[in-house]
């Protein structure tokens, strides 16, 4: 049975275990890297002073909020002096000279980084198969086909697999269209995407700046609350960072409200889904309904347009963000006779197929003659999607959906991009609206694979969202 952050901290406080022993326990599993969930594992020497300092604080009975907790960090967060590749070839030699805002907070709170988690190249993918450093293997196996290696989901696939395999207590991921929630669901863990603007994007390798958001992948909802307490802060270096006062997400996590809670279930999300997926929703309804919770059928009018909108806007922003990789100031430079050749060769050689494809889509929808028809139209539809959510949040407190339309699939199974993109059908609308969403494990499929449900909350209502997720987690009492 995996221990929560609170339980680990309590063991450290009672001296049942030392910070070093705790580190070594996780480091040993990480080091074996059997599922390829790490691009880089920090050797013990690197962490020695962090371990010593953390132990001192426990010895003085003044531990920091995440003191000694071993974490994985998606290889998309710039970490000072530690190679940060975005799982790409073009950044395969990049060593940042600054620390991302989010990882700064985690270090300030005493946590210890074990390594950098594998992910899809530049976070573009839903299976972790686009990584330059090879696919990540899901620690779970289909009980009817136990020899097949399955994807962990993506793009934070290494983060999800690392938490599921027990090589770190929690991992930091990023979510643009589902990249935290979808892999969390496929690996049987918790994944939280906060409201856009909650956690600073400063120092995160940018994919689509109007959508990217950092968030934790954890074993339980309470752990997600602990991490959110650390990372959700205003940062003046991110112009979209919100400066509202943050709640304490941990202290009242299990507090019950007397008020009736209304949860909307979008019936159009459930049309044509498999029985396994439908069961997750039905079962959640069943276990929660005794808690003074009312379930309502809600109807979106924009669902069928969400993926199209996303696959115009995200590649457009990506093609613009990835223009910086030119082989001049950092990253891998290819040979060329003149400057233009260097740009062309470095970029062509440096990007993998999926990233190239998305840059091309972006360049196309932003090009003269197509800008209004695609990009501008998608931005307008994005407003309609946001309005759609706002209308529904006038009737309900939360929205409940499946996290993914399917269980973990075989590595190499989905070859065409569109069928891969459809994996994010339940997570993309939330991202476009900028709303917070959390995926929690809800049960197993008939193949014995984990499935998740997603709760969506209103803007900056992470506290309430975590409360309902904690309640559902308890009622579902899902254990491996």
């Amino acid at each position: 049975m995996k221990q929560s952050i609170s339980q680990i901290k309590s063991s450290l406080q009672k001296k049942e275990i030392s910070v070093e022993e705790l580190h070594d326990e996780f480091f040993k599993i990480a080091k074996s890297n059997i599922n390829n969930s790490y691009n880089l594992i920090l050797d013990k020497e690197h962490n020695k002073s962090f371990i010593t300092e953390s132990q001192k604080r426990y010895d003085n009975s003044k531990p920091l909020p995440l003191d000694g907790i071993p974490l994985g960090i998606k290889d998309l967060f710039c970490t000072k002096g530690i190679r940060t590749t975005a799982s790409s070839k073009i950044l395969s030699n990049f060593i940042p000279n600054y620390e991302s805002f989010v990882t700064q907070q985690l270090l300030k709170d005493g946590s210890i980084f074990l390594g950098k988690n594998n992910c899809d190249e530049f976070a573009m993918g839903s299976s972790n198969e686009t990584s330059h450093f090879g696919p990540v293997v899901n620690p779970w196996k289909n009980k009817n086909e136990p020899d097949n290696n399955l994807v962990p989901g993506g793009s934070s696939g290494g983060s999800a697999a690392a938490v599921a395999e027990g090589s770190c207590v929690a991992s930091m991921g990023t979510d643009t269209g589902g990249s935290i929630r979808q892999p969390a669901s496929l690996c049987g863990i918790v994944g939280l995407k906060p409201t856009f603007g909650s956690c600073s994007r400063w120092g995160i390798v940018a994919f689509a700046s109007s959508l990217d958001q950092a968030g934790p992948l954890t074993n339980c909802v309470e752990d997600a609350a602990h991490i959110l307490n650390s990372i959700s802060k205003f940062d003046f270096n991110d112009s979209t960072s919100s400066n509202h006062t943050r709640d304490d997400y941990v202290s009242e996590l299990n507090q019950k409200t007397d008020q009736k809670i209304k949860i909307g279930i979008p019936s159009d999300y459930l049309q044509g889904v498999s029985k396994d997926i439908l069961n997750q929703i039905e079962n959640t309804k069943k276990v929660l309904s005794k808690n003074n919770i009312e379930f309502l059928d809600v109807k979106f009018s924009t669902t069928e347009y969400a993926l199209s909108t996303y696959y115009i806007l995200a590649p457009a922003e990506a093609s613009s963000n990835l223009a910086r990789y030119d082989g001049i100031r950092y990253g891998v430079r290819e040979k060329g006779e003149n400057l233009d050749d260097i740009y062309l060769n470095s970029r062509t050689e440096g990007f993998g197929d999926e990233v190239t494809r998305r840059i091309l889509i972006g360049a196309y929808v932003l090009s003269a003659g197509y800008y209004d028809a695609y990009y501008r139209q998608a931005q307008k539809v994005r407003r309609l999607i946001k309005n759609d959510f706002q209308r529904i949040f006038e009737e309900v407190d939360f929205i409940l959906t499946p996290t993914t339309p399917n269980e973990a699939f075989k590595i190499g199974d989905k070859l065409d991009p569109i069928s891969m993109y459809k994996n994010d059908i339940y997570t993309v609308p939330t991202s476009l609206a900028g709303l917070p969403g959390i995926s929690i494990p809800s049960g197993l499929s008939s193949n014995g694979l984990p499935l998740g449900i997603q709760f969506i909350g209103n803007y900056f209502q992470e506290k309430k969202l975590l409360q309902i997720a904690a309640l559902a987690e308890k009622e579902l009492a899902f254990n491996e």
Binding site: N97, G197, S210, Y364, Y374, V381, P417, I418
Partner: protein, 93 residues
């Protein structure tokens, strides 16, 4: 939908696709553009584009200089350097 000029698009994106892959990307792009074409049927005449979802949070700050980086640290990542400069082939004829 008109045919996609993959050479032009890739040049706009500063990519030089190998010839044997041009068709692969052109087809892929065509398929995706066809797939997202359903947005065209939505009437958005009265709708303003949405750039930032939270709309309220866009903020400005004073343009003050902070010295957080050193030239040496930044040039450490340069593929090629000459003294305090990034080195590139001659650009002036």
């Amino acid at each position: 939908m008109s045919d996609i000029d993959i050479k032009r698009i890739s040049y706009l994106a500063k990519l030089k696709l190998p010839e044997e892959k041009e068709e692969f990307y052109a087809n892929s792009l065509k398929e995706i553009i066809k797939w997202v074409d359903n947005l065209k049927k939505i009437d958005t005449k009265e709708v303003k584009p949405l750039h930032n979802v939270t709309e309220k949070t866009e903020s400005i700050r004073n343009d003050e200089v902070y010295k957080n980086n050193s030239v040496e640290e930044i040039l450490d990542n340069a593929p090629e350097r000459a003294q305090n400069f990034f080195k590139v082939p001659k650009v002036v004829e």
